[in-house]
């Protein structure tokens, strides 16, 4: 029912189209700027942020180095606590396992917690083809599902939609999925959230099967952790009789204590909160509380390929906070859809080509969807050096040869599109140069005195670099 990334054009074409969409750009600019400032404040509250970041990086590296041992320990712990562990080498196998588990319950509908892993494997589409309806329950996922749209952000999949568009989707589509939107629904976020509450509650109350991912899996205890805000996650994890969690193998952490790092860095990096409203932790099954059957599907689907790449494997540290999307100048202008994957933005540009390979044009173009400004690395709570991996992947794409030549050309187009507005850019540069004698040395305005007294604004060059280049090098 939802849109698909299959057949997507390569990044440059998709980005050009997106950049021309002024509503989309305004929505993205507003949202990413809002969250960027908030995140910076939330992070600044912790004066040991650098130490937490380094610890998170090392915990993940240690986990990946001995991933086999940690997964076996996890399997043992989950099994001892009453859960059943399944292993899926690829998307097709994971989909088959989940479908069989749902069919074994005799149910034809499931409620879902927002999960990147199940989007990655196209679970909803697979279930639909097998006659099972999957209801997304996260508000943004609901907006995407009702709108037959594609997600464009890891944390806020409907970030490309503004409140007016969301109201229109709810008015038009809720009725065909269940309880219709209330009469006279306005576009205030509170009313939209209320409409989602009413629409989904009937589904939660009757649900017999829940499907989730997980943010963390603790090997030593067998505990799974889901971090969320709305309570839809708690509904799906608690009310059904059967719970199936599909989780990438890199989501394991060795010890219970390791959570003390990530439960500090993840909320502040993603929603810029000291702590997200709800975090659920469960270990197997518990008599009289929550689902009586729990299945954990461990998903590879290309992760071991990424793990084999000595530079690229650091992408598997990712805790899916999405801070890198929110600071990325390319993401802010192009939006998430242009990346042709459920993982957009800087992290998607290094994760997708590693999970799927670089045979297709869109995947080969992704390592070039960046200006290498490094802002993503600065904000990453597990210190993934995204620019380093981008450059490494560009080399791999360029080395493909033959067909690679075409891919390389597509890729170079991607790297230039950002700067490819010569009219506006050139005019702006030249205006600045021509008037530079008039520019103040200090920041004007009230309130900046003490700060600006000791700082000069950087001087502007006598002529724009591109003019200089044209005169001296062509």
């Amino acid at each position: 029912m939802s849109g698909t990334f299959v057949g997507m054009p390569a990044f440059p074409e998709a980005a050009r189209e997106a950049v021309g969409d002024t509503t989309l750009r305004a929505n993205l600019r507003h949202a990413t700027r809002t969250i960027r400032d908030k995140r910076a404040r939330a992070v600044a509250e912790l004066d040991d942020w650098a130490a937490l970041r380094e610890a998170g990086k090392r915990i993940k590296d240690e986990t990946l180095r001995h991933l086999d041992a940690h997964l076996l320990r996890l399997e043992e712990s989950v099994t001892a606590a009453g859960g059943t562990v399944h292993w899926a080498a690829d998307a097709a196998e994971a989909n088959r396992i989940v479908t069989d588990l749902v069919k074994a319950t005799g149910e034809t509908e499931v409620v879902k917690v927002k999960s990147m892993a199940t989007q990655e494997i196209g679970l909803n589409e697979h279930l639909e083809a097998e006659g099972i309806r999957a209801y997304e329950t996260d508000l943004a996922e609901l907006i995407v599902q009702l709108g037959e749209d594609r997600p464009s952000h890891i944390l806020v999949p409907a970030i490309h939609r503004n409140r007016g568009e969301i109201r229109d989707v709810f008015r038009e589509k809720m009725g065909s999925w269940g309880r219709p939107a209330p009469e006279g629904l306005s576009d205030t976020p509170a009313e939209l959230a209320e409409a989602a509450r009413l629409h989904l509650r009937e589904k939660f109350l009757r649900a017999k099967v829940g499907i989730s991912g997980a943010n963390f899996m603790v090997a030593e205890t067998g505990t799974l952790v889901v971090v969320e805000s709305e309570g839809n996650g708690r509904m799906c994890l608690t009310l059904p009789e059967t719970l199936v969690s599909v989780v990438g193998i890199e989501k394991v952490v060795p010890t219970w204590r390791d959570l003390e790092v990530f439960l500090q860095t993840l909320p502040r990096s993603s929603t810029a909160e000291r702590m997200n409203p709800y975090t659920s932790m469960w270990t197997g099954t518990t008599d009289g509380d929550g689902p009586s059957a729990f299945h954990l599907v461990l998903l590879d689907n290309g992760r071991t390929d990424a793990l084999a790449d000595e530079v690229g494997r650091q992408a598997l540290r990712c805790i899916r906070c999405s801070a890198c999307l929110n600071v990325c100048p390319v993401y802010e202008r192009a939006g998430g859809h242009a990346y042709g994957s459920v993982y957009p933005g800087p992290i998607g540009a290094i994760l997708t080509p590693q999970l799927r390979g670089t045979a297709s044009e869109v995947d080969a173009s992704l390592p070039y969807a960046s200006s290498l400004c490094g802002a993503c690395y600065e904000v990453c709570p597990v210190a993934i050096d995204i620019p380093e991996v981008l450059v490494h992947l560009r080399e791999k794409v360029a080395d493909q040869g033959g067909k690679g030549h075409r891919l390389e050309k597509a890729a170079i187009k991607a790297s230039t599109w950002v700067l490819d507005h010569p009219g506006a850019l050139g005019a702006g540069e030249r205006l600045a140069s021509a008037t530079r004698k008039l520019h103040p040395k200090r920041l004007p305005g009230p309130g900046v005195g003490p700060w600006s007294e000791s700082r000069d604004l950087p001087g502007l060059p006598a002529e724009p670099f591109r003019d200089w280049w044209r005169k001296n090098r062509t």
């Binding site: 610890a55 608690t238 084999a308």
Partner: protein
């Protein structure tokens, strides 16, 4: 069917065969950011809970029943779910109809209840978080999820810790745990935070001190 377990494990072993050993994890971050002073921790907890739109009240053990009764009445709650093991005196003067969870209430019955009153396992001052572990007076997870109003009693200073690193050792990972920081919320519309989606839209926290 191929044995995917063996395949995935073999792929992992091949992938990291030549990888360098990992750098040991240094835990040189802080155990807590807040001072180790019960009164200041309680103030910080109060402040952070309120910052995320929980309604916070202070009382003494003798004042719990009156405060619970008043809050339920003010919110118009006519029925209240009572988890097993909840101190009876907390509801001594409440007028709302008690709904026992023994035998277990169905999701629809829970949906028909207006409120729930619980205790908690631990509260974290720095993040404004209360953690429930299903112990006495807390009930199974659904009880604090489906009703729209949650009253949670925190005993200070014994249940209050400064930080996440100090909270985890006090929790048993074998129990189902729910960490709650304010009422349910969403940032899904234009990344603006809105309180009140699927979980209780109103969270009242009662900080009880014996001093």
């Amino acid at each position: 069917m191929t044995d995917s377990r063996a395949r995935v494990l073999a792929r992992i072993r091949t992938a990291v065969a030549d990888a360098p050993g990992a750098v040991p994890v240094a835990r040189d971050y802080r155990t807590a950011h807040a001072p180790d002073d019960p009164a200041r921790l309680l103030d910080l907890l109060h402040e952070n809970l309120a910052d995320y739109r929980a309604h916070v009240h202070r009382t003494t053990p003798d004042g719990v029943a009156g405060l619970v009764a008043r809050l339920l009445a003010e919110r118009g709650a006519r029925s209240v779910v009572v988890p097993p093991g909840l101190p009876e005196e907390w509801l001594a003067t409440a007028e709302a109809v008690r709904r026992s969870d023994e035998p277990r209430l169905t999701p629809y019955e829970l949906d028909g209840a207006d409120a729930v009153v619980t205790g908690c396992a631990v509260a974290i001052a720095e993040t404004g978080t209360i953690v429930l572990d299903g112990g006495a007076g807390q009930g199974r997870r659904a009880l604090t999820l489906v009703p729209d109003l949650h009253l949670c009693v925190v005993r200070a200073p014994e249940q209050v810790v400064a930080s996440v690193p100090l909270a985890l050792p006090r929790l048993d990972p074998g129990r189902p745990l729910t960490w709650i920081s304010g009422p349910s919320a969403t940032s899904d519309i234009e990344l603006d935070r809105v309180e009140g989606v699927h979980g209780p839209r109103t969270l009242e926290v009662l900080l009880v001190t014996s001093g």
